[in-house]
Symmetry: C2
Subunit: 487 residues, 2 copies
């Protein structure tokens, strides 16, 4: 712990009590990284407030001492957005876990930031309601973290991202003011700062209460898995489903390499010989879902599906999803190390971009497995390499960066749902002009004039990034540190 923080700790203990302040190195080390664990820094001090008042007091203290404060939820993020500062405060919201209200009539829940995503649905389910955003980590990730990252999930094609479900926020700004944004109403006058706060990755303060919209549990959910002998054929099926005016709740695609890994890891029994599988899920009123489900099956066959499995019950549905949901972790079965990339392209650019990724893979000898939310063009290429070979690790880093460039070239984005954090901060200038970035920075500095809220994340600085993205110049932390098992 740095000298500066020694003065702070007794006052933090007054605010959060002894059990709410961790200074022991072994305890602090638990929090050295989030889900992107090749970025790691032991935090100066960890605080675990239990009330909004404590958050206000902690942040005011940080302002007073000019100490950086990094907010953290469950720590499942994949862009090192919760990477601590060695001389700063890590503010962990996991003890703020009260569901303040389930307002059945107005279909709203008011929850504290540490509440787990799935627990919102668990609390709402007895009333026939659920919370729609469903990141794969929904059993362990927190709603506060979802707000910070504007998390998506397999079903965001139909239901949108976290920002589309938050109607109100109680936040503590980086100057220590308690501010209410929005509420339960659909619309709020003045500047709508909810959209800006959601996805601001902890740079605009800490949400201490979140009001979310609850959806009616759909009358029917149906799931199918279709196998194709090429990615292109799968892509054609996606296009024809969307063009037919069907809006599935999810359309997920996996290529041969992802299928191979998933098969080895969880024996998901996808049709042998498939070069691509498509998982399509429909939900809504029974009559509607049944009619559209038949239509989707027909469109898949017309696009060349050689086998279609339809889930007869919840158990079969879970089996179909198992392969997809385990796909990232399964990569360990076919490669010693891998990078999970996250980029977006307009849906119509998918075939072109997938072709270019295949070319990149062929010319570099670096294998790339593809898992993606096909409906909204959100790619998750998994770049495989042997970490025993430093040269291969460097090439993998280059391929991973080149994929982001492809996304930008095709009018897309450097992140679909994993965020910028530390990991992609130096890619921001490839996507935005200096004026675009300056406008974001103006807003950030207006809310955080002292620059203490999650500094050096989200927006690039010359000190961090120089003139070119660091990945491109070989300074990528992965390459530099040669770290291996990423997930």
């Amino acid at each position: 712990m740095s000298r500066d923080l020694s003065a702070l700790v007794p006052r933090l203990r007054e605010i959060c009590s002894d059990r709410g302040v961790l200074t022991d190195e072994a305890e602090r080390r638990t929090y050295e990284s989030d889900g992107l664990d090749y970025h790691a820094v032991i935090p100066g001090v960890v605080v675990l407030p239990e009330t909004t008042d404590q958050v206000v007091a902690v942040i005011r203290l940080c302002v007073e001492h000019n100490v950086p404060v990094v907010p953290r939820g469950s720590g499942t993020g994949l862009s090192a957005g919760a990477l601590p500062n060695a001389d700063g405060v890590l503010l962990v919201t996991s003890r703020m876990r009260r569901i303040r209200e389930i307002d059945v009539d107005n279909q709203r829940a008011v929850v504290e930031p540490g509440v787990l995503n799935l627990d919102v649905t668990r609390a709402a389910a007895p009333h026939g309601l659920y919370y729609a955003p469903d990141p794969s980590s929904q059993q362990v990730c927190s709603v506060g973290g979802n707000v910070a990252e504007n998390s998506g999930g397999a079903h965001c094609l139909k239901y949108g991202f976290t920002v589309h479900h938050v109607t109100g926020l109680e936040i503590v700004t980086p100057t220590g003011e308690l501010v209410q944004l929005g509420g339960k109403s659909v619309e709020s006058p003045g500047l709508d700062l909810i959209g800006t706060f959601v996805g601001s990755e902890g740079t605009l303060g800490v949400a201490t209460a979140i009001t979310v919209r609850l959806e009616r549990t759909p009358e029917r959910v149906r799931t199918l898995l279709a196998a194709f002998d090429s990615l292109d054929a799968g892509g054609t099926a996606v296009t024809s489903i969307i063009s037919a005016g069907v809006l599935p709740s999810a359309i997920e695609m996996m290529d041969a390499l992802s299928i191979e890994a998933a098969e080895q890891a969880v024996q998901c029994n996808y049709p042998p010989g498939a070069e691509a599988v498509l998982i399509v899920e429909l939900d809504g009123p029974a009559s509607d879902v049944d009619a559209q489900f038949d239509q989707v099956s027909t469109l898949c066959r017309e696009a060349g599906a050689f086998e279609i499995h339809t889930a007869a019950d919840a158990q079969e549905r879970a089996r179909i999803w198992k392969g997809r949901k385990s796909a990232f972790a399964a990569m360990g079965r076919i490669s010693p190390a891998y990078i999970v990339q996250d980029g977006v392209v307009p849906r119509t650019a998918l075939p072109e971009v997938l072709g270019r990724i295949a070319e990149l893979s062929a010319t570099t000898g670096i294998r790339v497995a593809n898992v993606f939310h096909a409906g909204d063009g959100n790619l998750h290429p998994l770049v495989l390499f042997d970490n025993a070979d430093p040269e291969a690790a460097e090439r993998a880093g280059d391929v991973s960066a080149a994929i982001l460039d492809l996304c930008i070239e095709h009018g897309g984005s450097i992140t679909g749902e994993h965020g910028v954090g530390v990991d992609k901060v130096c890619h921001m200038p490839a996507m935005f002009t200096p004026d675009d970035l300056a406008t974001m920075d103006d807003v950030r500095r207006a809310v955080d004039p002292h620059g203490i809220a999650n500094p050096e994340k989200l927006l690039p600085t010359p000190r961090l990034c120089g003139e070119r993205p660091s990945v491109r110049t070989g300074e990528h932390p992965l390459v530099a540190e040669g770290k291996a098992e990423l997930f």
Copy 2:
């Protein structure tokens, strides 16, 4: 024209040519107000740029001369958000009317700000697509104005507001920078300023291109009108429809006084003797709509509907909507003057708030007609008075203000879709704490450090509002000027 602007005009003519700059008083007077015409100021000079470059040059010139600039679309707003400054520039976007692109495959349109709302749908319709936000003024209002006000419409219950349909913005900031926010992708990294820009009422700059999502034209649309012998019975029907999990595209309610006015104005042939009518519209796949339509009819009967009309074709559908859409203007038939109010309450608070409005009306002797988007709790009370009686005008202003207080008390908002502008700026402190407002103001000043973009709108200042809302202290412009025919 003030002396300061004389120096500006030749340079404005260089930028926008002679036809793009209006200095003649008669021409300027055309722009003295928007739809809320009891606020009127003749603008110092009017410019009508045709390109983004011209907008950039005009705003940089305004910065250089420290001259306020007020953006205006079609001028149909109802909160005086486009009220000009006598010594400022009114920047009218109506000549920026190019539809830059209809991207059918990605379901996006890129339009300039002066494009009329309905023209987006007209351009998209041949491709089976349409633009969902539909303010009543959609034949004449502009997409740029919709962005400024975050406009809603009868169908925003199901489809959301303008902010839910904008995925990209090209804006010129109040410092004259051209900035791109978002794009065609569903998600954009960094601070998401789209949500803040949409609804910022011209205080954060001018949008010069807007990328909007297009929806598939629904396979079926069905509309019914149900008549009830009390507002409460109508309210019960709304609750039971929503509780049944049906999400109509629109649920509109009108009370006896509104029906009387509409009947006199457009002979809409609503069932005689109705104390309330409910218009319910469903859209979507045919099978789904047909099943739910029967369910809605049954629920209305169970709630006590004594007569139900169902539209057999587009013509009958139009006839049902005619009474609702003409309701505001129809008030002239039953009252010499009236104020259109716009407030929101959580849906479940509707019966209570309607009861309190009826009490207010009884105790003050001021009649109030109620027309509202019942599904999302957006009230449009029409406060009727005789403008020949100054004392009645004052009481009407008080009733109108008291209705907003009721909305706030019940956890709602002072505006649902008409915006704050000049008209409600002094109500903001009743809804937000000083810290809430200061946070908004920090963001505004960060983007507009010179304070030239639509000054004195949206956020209150002590100079404007003193310590209490001006309406409450009798300084309401309506009362002060005694103006009469408002709409």
